[in-house]
Amino acid sequence: MAIKITVNGQTHSLDIEPDTPLLWTIRETLGLTGTKFGCGISACGACTVNLNGRAVRSCQLPVSAAEGGEVTTIEGLAREGALHPVQQAWITHQVPQCGYCQSGMIMAVAAFLEQHPQPSDEDIDASITNICRCGTFARVRRAIHAITQR
């Protein structure tokens, strides 16, 4: 049974088991490797993508839950060649170190700012729960505030 999902504006009809996690559908079936595998239990957020404008952790979300939905991955965040403001801020503030968690971090922040255009530190603390082992948290916070203060 084919499953229809739209990823970065492109609709795919995939012959795939419906319980396949969205993460592995994106990485293996569609070949978009910007979205990362970190823990497999929705704890770290490295696999975060946007589904219908909401940040979701894709490692435990079955692809069937995204059927008919609009998925955006890190590869689809830039529009018409222009980086998304979060991506731009990540360069300006030199946020990534190893960078492995940052696709998920950027997707989480992009969705968060849609809901919280002027977030307080408490809002950021409550919503941005992705794990980063390199310790980029201070720069993540700085970059978020810089985006919203423009």
């Binding site: 490797t33 990534p96 729960t129 390199c134 201070a138």
Partner: protein, 725 residues
């Protein structure tokens, strides 16, 4: 770009299609090899540094170190470009391939900095031989800038500049001394003539390599000592960066693995049929110590692996637990160290730190293709040469029969260093079973947490003595779990200082974890000196400072962190400050933690102030990032991180029980670097060791509760708080 080969390495002077390359071979055969580096540095090692200039004016720097977010690629390129007076916008960087020629003597040399000059020659030669012998092309020991950069990149850059100057002088018909390099052009001001690096590159390739190029004076730097955006960052914000886990080959299969839960255990039995009938499964592969499922996708492999119920033996370690290990430590430490008879007051304390996992965000991954007597491996590792050798040994091939391509690392922290390549060993054996089809082995997070080379657990037993005036007479300790002269070193002027190693072996596999032995001993020694200060009735900062009159570098760092943090200014009830200072990998770091503890015992680290003397800073912004990162890494360990052992195996499984701090827990961090011309020290690790003691000392200041066992979460802090000192 043509393929780099060993032949090209040794012989290259000019490039096919024009341009020039400055390589190790050229410098190795220069008439006065010693003076190429410095008067007192007599390496016999090749320069593991290459600079290429092509007709399109691009300067490409080939770096023999991996990039794992520490900014090494950019910093080393800055060091070369500075000496060349290159236009930074025209500089590119690539990682050197895993070939013997890049064996990195410079890294080992970075550790020889404190050796008296007459011995340096022997050490260098020995270190170089050692590097070649072990096949080291490692990135570790906070060594890239202070070793490869200082002894390789700057000299190669200066030599390249002189060759371009000589080529320009010949072309213009003027004296070389009248020419200047300015932003990737050689200019002769009197005649107004000028030519770009690219235009001169081919002619420069024919110029003999200068034997003693002059290095720039640090006060004339225009690229170093500035904040340059890291060259690797753009690819890390749009998903285009390719890490080990992202690598793909046509027809590649995927493997998931379950490993004997007790280190050293063997697979005793497994019924493979439940997996073999599942979708996409190609084969179940039995290894001595593991069982792997190979399938068309990783998800299929992972799901089928979960259907298996393999049985493993426990290698005879089924009785080992954290409690049994610490009991053995305790026994090995024996009676508390004896104190001088004239002591007016004595202090005694035991400290304990647990095993820790590296938990890099990218789990361990190895892609391999094995075809008869040849193998290809793709992975992200801190030492491609040693990883290649691990693959060769697993396949019983010679290293020349194995080709390894290094990819970006999703974190290292020591987990991907030499002699920790179990995942490569397993990956190539699985690929051999599927030969010639390529296989990518991805470890689950559970594999990663339960099969690490852990930061060694440790315990220390301290005793100290004070005279009637509160001045320290002695600090003596014994420790178990590992240590060395650097990690146990206390800079303080105390007449009787002694640290004795004890041995208490256990079967838990250990390795280097960001700052190696310094995270444990930084906590031990800087907690104890704080206890001494309080016993003497003195301010912990003043107490330390009074013992550092003989050590101006330490004193300067400590004074500045006190000023930066507002040390001594009043704090509200329940808040406190703690201070700690350590030295490792050629750098001195002092940190002050400002914390708050609620009456219910909830601890929050509000601010961390750090002052760093890592010598001459190359890239100021990525240096600050390394300090911030080191503090957060150390803070996770101090507050919540631990690996515990029960029935011989690791208890923790994934991020739900192997804890680390999140953004909400992260303090504000303020970092200041000492401005100095002192040659660069390391920076990837030195900011980790002080933080645990700084926080524990702050907890004492705020609550009167002395935390002697990490992580701090295991010590209840729920009591009436008192006003801090």
């Amino acid at each position: 770009m043509r393929k780099w080969t060993r032949r090209a390495f040794i012989g290259a002077g000019s490039l096919v299609g024009g341009g020039f390359v400055l390589g190790a071979g050229e410098l190795l055969f220069a008439p006065s090899r010693q003076s190429v580096v410095s008067a007192d540095a007599a390496e016999k090692g090749q320069l593991t540094t290459w600079i290429t200039v092509t007709p399109d004016d691009l300067v490409t720097v080939l770096v023999p170190h991996c990039e794992m977010g520490q900014g090494t690629h950019t910093a080393l390129a800055m060091m070369a470009a500075e000496e060349m007076d290159a236009d930074w916008n025209l500089v590119r960087v690539r990682e050197a391939p895993a070939l013997d020629a890049y064996a990195n003597a410079y890294m080992l040399r970075a550790f020889a900095g404190n050796i008296p000059a007459p011995l340096v020659r022997g050490v260098d030669w020995g270190a170089y031989r050692l590097a070649r012998w072990f096949g080291t092309q490692a990135t570790g020991g906070s060594s890239s800038v202070r070793g490869t950069g200082q002894y390789g990149m700057t000299v190669a850059g200066a030599a390249a500049r002189d060759m371009l100057l000589a080529a320009a002088a010949a072309r213009f018909g003027v004296r070389m001394s009248e020419c200047k390099a300015i932003r990737s052009r050689i200019v002769h001001e009197q005649s107004g003539k000028s030519a770009s690096f690219g235009e001169l590159a081919t002619a420069a390739a024919a110029i003999p390599v200068p034997s003693s190029p002059a290095l720039k004076r640090p006060d004339s730097y225009t690229i170093r000592r500035t904040a340059r955006p890291r060259l690797d960052i753009p690819s890390k914000v749009d998903g285009s960066a390719i890490y080990g886990i992202d690598f793909k080959l046509p027809g590649m299969l995927h493997a998931a693995i379950e490993i004997a839960p007790v280190y050293g255990g063997k697979l005793t039995s497994v019924d493979t049929t439940p997996a073999e009938t599942m979708p996409g499964v190609k084969r179940v592969v039995r290894l001595d110590e593991a069982v792997a499922v190979v399938a068309d996708t990783y998800w299929h492999a992972r799901r089928a692996l979960a259907a298996l119920k393999p049985a493993f033996d426990d290698a005879g370690h089924g009785n080992v637990s954290s409690a049994s290990i610490f009991a053995a430590f305790d026994k090995s430490l024996g009676a508390p160290p004896t104190m001088p008879k004239n002591a007016a007051k004595t202090v005694a304390a035991d400290y304990r730190v647990p095993f820790l996992a590296h938990a890099t965000m990218e789990p361990m991954v190895c892609t391999a293709r094995v075809d008869k007597d040849r193998a290809e491996v793709w992975a992200g590792v801190q030492d491609p040469l040693n990883a290649r050798s691990a693959a060769a040994s697993a396949l019983k091939l010679n290293v020349e029969q194995v080709h390894l391509t290094n990819l970006l690392l999703g974190g290292g922290f020591g987990r991907r260093l030499p002699f920790t390549y179990d995942y490569i060993d397993m990956g190539v054996r699985i690929a051999k079973a599927m030969s010639p089809v390529p296989v990518k082995l991805i470890w689950s997070r559970e594999n990663d947490i339960q099969h690490d080379y852990y930061r060694p657990a440790g315990m220390a037993r301290f005793a100290g003595a004070l005279d009637a005036g509160g001045a320290p007479l002695a600090v003596r300790s014994s420790y178990a779990g590992g240590g060395d002269g650097e990690s146990t070193f206390m800079p303080y002027a105390i007449p009787d200082k002694h640290a004795a190693a004890r041995d208490a072996a256990h079967p838990v596999r250990t390795g280097a974890w960001r700052s190696v032995l310094n995270s444990q001993h930084g906590f031990f020694k800087e907690s104890f000196i704080d206890e001494m200060a309080h016993a003497a009735g003195k301010d912990p900062y003043r107490f330390r400072l009074d013992l550092l009159n003989h050590a101006p570098l330490f004193r300067d760092v400590l004074e500045r962190v006190a000023a930066l943090s507002g040390w001594g200014s009043p704090l509200p009830e329940g808040e406190g400050r703690g201070i700690a200072i350590t030295q490792c990998f050629g750098s001195i770091v002092a940190e002050v933690a400002h914390i708050a503890v609620t009456p219910e015992g909830k601890l929050r680290v509000l601010d961390v102030f750090a002052v760093v003397d890592c010598g001459d800073v190359v890239n100021t912004d990525s240096a600050a990032a390394q300090a911030e990162g080191g503090i957060i890494f150390g803070l996770s360990a101090a507050l919540v991180g631990e690996i515990t052992i029960a029935e011989g195996r690791v208890v923790q499984r994934n991020f739900q029980d192997h804890l680390m701090i999140h953004l909400a827990d992260a303090p504000r961090i303020t970092v200041e670097f000492i401005k100095t011309y002192r040659r660069p020290g390391g920076l990837g690790e030195p900011c980790v060791p002080p933080i645990a003691a700084a926080v524990a000392n702050a907890v004492f200041a705020a609550t009167g509760i002395r935390v002697r066992d990490l992580p701090i979460k295991n010590t209840p802090l729920s009591r009436q708080t008192k006003t801090s000192a």
